[in-house]
């Protein structure tokens, strides 16, 4: 089970706590984690990634293991500790707007 930490507004939208667990089959990548997250919580579709292009919405960031993975290839493997469920994958709302 992959641990995913959501920002406040998306927790409320999905009706979940600060962290959720999602099953990922195969390689654990940004894309496979977000696919699994949206499959489990369809209300999140379009709120993290664009519906059509599946590109990350501009003001969201992806962190894990004290690293900013936002601009990594979405098909790159995430760190082993995320894949093992030891560390969470964090979806973070960028600080913007003053």
């Amino acid at each position: 089970m992959i641990r995913v930490v959501l920002p406040y507004h998306l927790r409320n939208l999905a009706g979940v706590g600060s962290e959720v667990g999602v099953p990922v089959e195969g390689r654990v990548t940004q894309r496979s984690v977000l696919d699994a997250l949206e499959a489990r919580y369809p209300v999140l579709r379009g709120t993290i990634r664009d519906h059509g292009s599946l590109e990350r919405r501009p003001f969201l960031r992806f962190f894990a293991c004290a690293r900013d993975l936002t601009h990594e290839d979405p098909d790159e493997s995430l760190p082993e500790s995320v894949a093992r469920g030891e560390e969470p994958f964090l979806v973070v709302g960028a600080i913007a707007g003053g």
């Binding site: 920002p7 406040y8 507004h9 998306l10 409320n12 939208l13 209300v43 579709r45 379009g46 709120t47 993290i48 664009d50 519906h51 059509g52 919405r57 003001f59 969201l60 709302g93 960028a94 913007a96 707007g97």
Partner: protein
């Protein structure tokens, strides 16, 4: 006894205000979706407890919420607004081509006959429709694909389709307004559209007879007179008696004819309300006095309505979708300000009172009259 429900969308959530027919005491629930911008909320005229809310965020995009119990509980429904076919380009602020990009829903207009059908006006300007209760949305692409579409430009707040007027006589006639493209009308249910801007003037357009390019702020229609439309243009208050084929200037003696909302009295089709704003540079009331102006003659002659409204040091704005009327007798009129007040008059505008203060900046106000 009839009741009134007022749906208030704000910069930081949705609020639902309710009162019985006396309109003396108001209950307030909310914020729903706290922290999100609620651009617009509107109830179905067929099933008034079904309410649509446009929940938006610069971070998280568009969510559509539907309530089937008058705003007590909400369910997120479909939020995918995909333009149909090639998206093409419109003009950006600097005149360069810019791809059409969905940003948000500015306005919902529920069908007059079917509770599962609702129209959505979006930015970048397009008209969508759902016929399955909001679970899926289909564009009516004839509008965006109009021959002038590649010349449409955004207004200062974006290129939003903000007004949808449904003709009570026929579902085939729909009139929409887009900032800053102007008014367009279909007579065939959205297949084909034509501009309805003849008679409009804009100091921002070098061609005085331009077919498009008008920064229309809002339209209003009385259901008993579907061919008569009132318009708050960027500058100028206008009137059409031929469903938008031609427009006549009716600003008359207004202290400023810049503003955003325009509304028609529920029982008097020639009684019209606007809220003058000093200018497009300042966006606050003339002389710092918040005044609703009423015309009982369908325009030209306007009287200020001030009792109960702040008459000094007032620097709020009232946005295009933030005024509405109920259908009780006497007619109630409601508007919300960027200062977070919701003002109401229960006597056609003579006396005003704040039924709610200190909300976040108000983006939209819609009144429902409930039996």
């Amino acid at each position: 006894m009839s009741r009134v429900r007022v749906l208030v969308g704000t910069k930081k959530g949705a609020f639902v205000l309710e009162a019985d027919g006396s309109r003396d005491a108001w209950s307030i629930t909310g914020p729903h979706f706290g922290g999100w911008e609620i651009f617009h909320m509107k109830g179905s005229p067929v099933e008034p407890d079904r309410i649509w809310a446009s929940q938006t965020s610069g971070w998280f995009g568009q969510v559509v919420q539907r309530s089937d119990d008058g705003g007590a509980t909400w369910e997120p429904v479909g939020n995918e607004f995909a333009y149909e076919g090639p998206t093409g380009t419109h003009q950006w602020y600097d005149g360069t081509p810019h791809p059409w990009e969905f940003t948000r829903v500015w306005h919902f207009e529920p069908s007059l006959t079917d509770p599962d059908t609702v129209y959505a006006g979006v930015e970048d300007a397009a008209l969508f429709r759902s016929t399955d209760g909001g679970h899926s949305w289909q564009e009516l692409p004839g509008l965006r694909n109009h021959a002038t579409g590649d010349r449409w430009q955004p207004g200062a707040a974006g290129m939003g389709l903000h007004t949808i007027v449904l003709d009570p006589r026929t579902p085939d006639r729909i009139t929409v307004a887009i900032s800053a493209a102007g008014v367009f009308r279909t007579e065939d249910g959205g297949e084909s559209w034509r501009p309805s801007n003849r008679g409009l003037k804009s100091q921002y357009l070098p061609d005085p007879e331009a077919e498009i390019g008008y920064c229309v702020h809002h339209l209003a229609m009385h259901p008993d007179r579907p061919d008569t439309l009132f318009m708050q243009l960027h500058w100028n208050v206008m009137r059409s008696d031929d469903a938008g084929d031609s427009w006549e200037l009716v600003s008359g003696n207004l202290p400023s004819d810049f503003g955003f909302p325009v509304e028609v009295h529920a029982h008097e089709p020639e009684t019209v309300y606007v809220i003058p704003i000093k200018s497009d540079s300042e966006h606050y009331p003339p002389e710092a006095k918040l005044r609703v102006y009423r015309s009982r003659t369908g325009g030209h002659e306007w009287e200020p309505l001030t009792r109960g409204l702040p008459q000094e040091h007032c620097y709020v704005n009232v946005l295009r979708d933030a005024m509405s009327v109920d259908r009780l007798d006497p007619c109630g009129i409601y508007f919300g300000t960027t200062g977070g007040q919701v003002y109401a008059s229960f006597d056609g505008g003579d006396q005003w009172t704040a039924i709610c203060r200190d909300l976040p900046a108000v983006l939209s106000v819609e009144a429902q009259t409930l039996e």
